[in-house]
């Protein structure tokens, strides 16, 4: 049993490095500054008139500096330097009246009246938004479309209706209907990433994040969705490494068949997402497993897509999976590595665990604390006390993640270091202590949305359509 502390991974920006995404962007500029990048982001807007109005004036106000929340932990809350062409992102928002598509209150009221139940209303509301998204996509082609939800509407339709399914009663299977997932899935065919935004962010309530943090998170996500790279992982070696997340999602009728999906990321956070074929749950460990052929096809096709996107094959591949590897899966993945001349392959399982570490005093262990039980089993605290923030930004004691190495060419320390680094590659959030690496986090988001997509519909390959 061995314990060590991994250093907070460093992120790469235009002309400097830092551990914190916000400080990095502010001090050193976005990572893709020298490349083709979204220095002007054309936005489309869909929503009711009032909500769009207040979001637009909020976006305008965000051109300027926003004060940080007052706190004893100065690094936890940072001021927002303003979204403009002079500082930080050095990018601007543009649009004109023709990019604003309003959904009249009367049309929405009509939809409400004619709805059978809340699920029906969700489907109708999604259609209202889609009509306008389609118009914007065909006629104006903005970089990102903001779907603005007013608070009353949000309260009505947000959240998942998810009644328990009695397994013996097949006729009574309920389908979950979720506005966000349904809208993202249906909007995919118009090829423009959408961002759903609630109009209440304009005046955040006490229980919400502070103004500066909201702005940081909003504009970072927007920049990424407009094909920008806000920050990248600091490259460790000259080798070209790729991280693949492999996961499964259940269809909405909760049957035991699950569909496989893979996401490939490189150090820049660029990558592809690919849907595989349905698989049956194994009776042995109650987990879905790919056959050798399925494993081969899924990884092989993903890497081919990845090559199409970035024009380079990885030399090293790390696979993150949320369940154990079967012999057949290992065979399949190893064959792909051999065929594609990938000379280093690590097969890693990342899952929740009952294991805990206690520290003296009131704070939990530091983020980055790694306990190795043996060569194969490691526990990593990705959430915990963050030295840079001077606190543990969470409630109740955090739990580590369990990392199992099924076969590995690189050292366990390096593999865990990379996992810690990948927890920072989520562009929905500029606080860097996410629990799971983007490979696993992404698979959840992707699965949730893909299950709303018809089998004949082709999923988008970019993560911006799922986040």
């Amino acid at each position: 049993m061995e314990i060590s502390l991994l250093k907070e991974p460093i992120l790469q920006f235009q002309n400097g490095e830092h551990i914190c995404p916000r400080t990095g962007i502010y001090k050193f500029g976005v990572a893709d500054f020298e490349n083709v990048r979204p220095d002007k982001i054309v936005l489309g807007f869909v929503g009711n008139s009032d909500s769009i109005g207040s979001i637009i004036s909020w976006i305008k106000s965000c051109k300027n500096h926003i004060e940080p929340k007052k706190s004893n932990q100065p690094n936890l809350f940072m001021n927002f330097p303003g979204f403009n062409d002079k500082v930080a992102f050095k990018s601007e928002i543009t649009y004109d009246e023709s990019y604003i598509r309003k959904i009249n209150n009367s049309i929405f009221e009509k939809a409400k009246k004619s709805s059978e139940d809340i699920d029906d209303l969700i489907i109708k509301a999604v259609d209202l938004f889609l009509t306008e998204i389609k118009f914007l996509a065909k006629n104006k082609n903005p970089d990102v479309i903001l779907c603005v939800l007013d608070e009353k509407f949000t309260n009505m339709i947000y959240g998942t209706k998810n009644t328990k399914v009695d397994e013996d009663d097949e006729d009574n299977l309920s389908m979950e209907i979720n506005f966000r997932r349904l809208l993202k899935a249906k909007a995919m065919e118009y090829n423009i990433p959408i961002q759903i935004v609630r109009d209440r962010i304009v005046k955040p309530a006490k229980e919400m994040q502070d103004e500066a943090t909201i702005a940081w998170n909003f504009f970072t996500a927007l920049y990424y969705k407009a094909s920008g790279t806000p920050w990248a992982l600091k490259k460790n070696a000259n080798s070209n490494t790729c991280f693949a997340g492999i996961s499964f999602y259940k269809s909405r009728d909760k049957s035991t068949t699950q569909t496989s999906v893979t996401q490939i990321f490189n150090e820049q956070g660029n990558g592809v997402i690919l849907r595989g074929t349905p698989v049956k749950e194994s009776k042995k460990d109650k987990q879905p497993h790919l056959s050798e052929q399925q494993a081969f096809d899924l990884l092989y096709n993903s890497l081919k897509e990845y090559y199409e996107a970035v024009k380079i094959y990885p030399q090293r591949l790390v696979i993150h999976k949320s369940s154990n590897y079967s012999e057949e899966e290992i065979e399949g993945f190893e064959k792909v590595a051999e065929k594609m001349n990938i000379n280093s392959l690590d097969l890693v399982t990342i899952m929740p665990t009952n294991f805990r570490l206690y520290r003296e005093g009131n704070y939990p262990p530091l983020r980055g604390t790694m306990l190795s039980l043996d060569k194969q089993r490691h526990f990593l605290y990705t959430r915990g006390f963050v030295d840079y923030y001077g606190t543990y930004p969470g409630s109740y004691i955090p739990s580590p993640i369990e990392i199992r190495l099924f076969s590995y060419d690189e050292s366990p320390e390096r593999i865990c270091n990379e996992i810690l680094a990948l927890t920072k590659m989520n562009w929905n959030n500029t606080q860097f202590d996410r629990k799971f690496p983007i490979t696993i986090d992404c698979s959840r988001n992707v699965g949730e949305i893909l299950k709303y997509l018809g089998e004949d519909q082709k999923p988008q390959i970019k993560y911006s359509f799922y986040m």
């Binding site: 049993m1 009952n354 805990r356 520290r359 704070y363 604390t369 840079y388 409630s395």
Partner: protein, 463 residues
């Protein structure tokens, strides 16, 4: 790799370590000796079959020694200085602090190279017959390790020693040690406590074919309130067999491939469980043999351990909740709060069942009960138990409160790292010690002391 090559490689790594020590000592970085202690623990433990721990981690302050094995009564001083003066100083301290009373042997391990000879007479003056010490036997260095290894016949065992060395001498580890030494002033060392206990199990596992009359037990159950189906699981049928054959009930067995496995001797007539197996079918296996036969055997053994822990906790007034898969402290027969006296650093009492009253203090609305989940698992031929404390809210000690999950969330939000650690230590205490005076003995399963792991790091932001 053959024996000679393996031992040569070990010798090479030891030489590398000596070089590392000598280089650092030459620039006055003497703290490498502290690292040496930690590096040597697994190696000496493996080679000499000891159970050494770092003495610095013990609450008691040991001044002359670095490593201790309480069970085997062995104390070791690790040093890079090989001269007579240093040995004399160690012996004086050892004697002065009465550490000789706790141990039978004092060994001095030199991480550089010991002198060719020492004059024992000088040592005898200090020892004054109060304890035994002979320089030829009690002063060791790497050559002693190599001699010992050369006497071994088993190559896999020697290979294991090499693996231990290789782990300690990767470039990364050497760089890390150097980094720590160079940044000594900026470093913080703290102790972390995993929620794990090492499990001590019997060496033997017994396996016997189920020998009960299944059909009869099922039909008989139809005369009672709890009726078994024809398709009932073997465990359900066996559970009823105790009553059917009139034997006292216990939980410490598991059904595996139509056989019963247990740590209890299924072939002894005096053992009640022997009534459930076919006579003459019982086989014995060592734990290692069984666990390494395949993954499903490991899982079966893990289930048997869980069931054995259930039997242990049943003696301690701790309920096993099958559906929730957790343990919960049971309230007294006359429904009220319950406290247990325990000892960590100091003796204290802890409320495991607490009455919760309404605002007007006229009525008990519900009970709050300390609970925990467990998970047993195998790592490098040792079994561990992970214990996760949680809470349970009931109306009467048994029936769940309708807002139980909200109440648990509320409670957990208020709990700091330290309070959860205290719960863990308390539960560990209860598993290893008698909770009440009249608790029945149960010695099939035991637990070692909780782990303490030192972690040294540099705080970049001073928080």
């Amino acid at each position: 790799m053959n024996k000679k090559k393996t031992i040569d490689r070990i010798a090479e790594l030891i030489a590398r370590f000596r070089a590392e020590v000598e280089t650092l000592n030459s620039v006055n970085l003497y703290d490498i000796n502290i690292h040496a202690e930690n590096i040597l623990i697994p190696i000496l433990n493996y080679i000499y079959g000891l159970n050494l721990k770092n003495a610095n981690l013990e609450e008691k302050n040991y001044s002359a020694i670095d490593l201790i094995d309480i069970e085997n009564r062995v104390a070791i001083q690790v040093t890079s200085t090989a001269d007579t003066e240093k040995i004399k100083h160690t012996l004086e301290q050892y004697k002065k602090h009465k550490e000789r009373d706790e141990f039978d042997s004092l060994l001095i391990y030199i991480i550089t190279k010991k002198q060719k000879t020492y004059r024992d007479k000088k040592f005898d003056e200090i020892i004054n017959d109060e304890f035994e010490f002979e320089s030829s036997k009690n002063i060791l260095d790497f050559e002693n390790l190599i001699i010992e290894l050369n006497s071994w016949i088993s190559i896999p065992k020697i290979q294991e020693v090499l693996d231990l060395f290789e782990q300690e001498f990767t470039e990364q580890k050497i760089d890390y040690r150097k980094y720590i030494l160079e940044n000594k002033d900026k470093l913080v060392t703290e102790t972390l406590y995993p929620n794990l206990l090492e499990i001590e199990l019997p060496k033997t596992i017994y396996i016997g074919t189920i020998g009960v009359n299944r059909d009869e037990i099922i039909t008989k159950s139809w005369e009672t309130k709890y009726k078994l189906r024809k398709s009932a699981s073997d465990r359900s049928v066996l559970n009823r067999a105790f009553e059917y054959y009139g034997i006292s009930y216990s939980r410490d067995w598991h059904v595996f491939e139509k056989k019963i496995i247990s740590f209890k001797p299924l072939d002894k007539n005096s053992e009640p469980l022997s009534n459930l197996v076919e006579t003459g079918t019982v086989e014995e296996f060592t734990l290692d043999e069984f666990a390494t036969s395949g993954y499903k055997y490991e899982l079966a053994l893990s289930s048997l351990i869980d069931n054995t822990i259930q039997e242990l906790t049943s003696k301690k007034e701790i309920q096993w909740l099958r559906k929730e898969r957790m343990f919960r402290f049971r309230p007294p027969k006359f429904l009220k709060s319950k406290k247990i006296t325990w000892k960590n650093k100091k003796t204290a009492t802890r409320t495991v069942v607490k009455e919760v009253w309404n605002k007007e203090k006229t009525q008990i609305t519900h009970f709050q009960q300390l609970s925990f989940k467990i998970q047993s698992f195998l790592s490098e031929s040792k079994w561990f138990l992970a214990i996760t404390p949680t809470w349970s809210y009931t109306y009467d000690g048994y029936q769940a409160h309708k807002f139980e999950s909200d109440l648990i969330t509320q409670k957990k939000k208020l709990e700091s790292n330290n309070s959860v650690y205290q719960h863990f230590m308390f539960i560990s205490y209860c598993l290893s010690n008698k909770v009440s005076e009249n608790e029945e003995d149960y010695n099939i399963i035991n637990f070692k002391e909780a782990f303490k792991l030192p972690l040294t790091y540099k705080s970049d932001y001073g928080n």
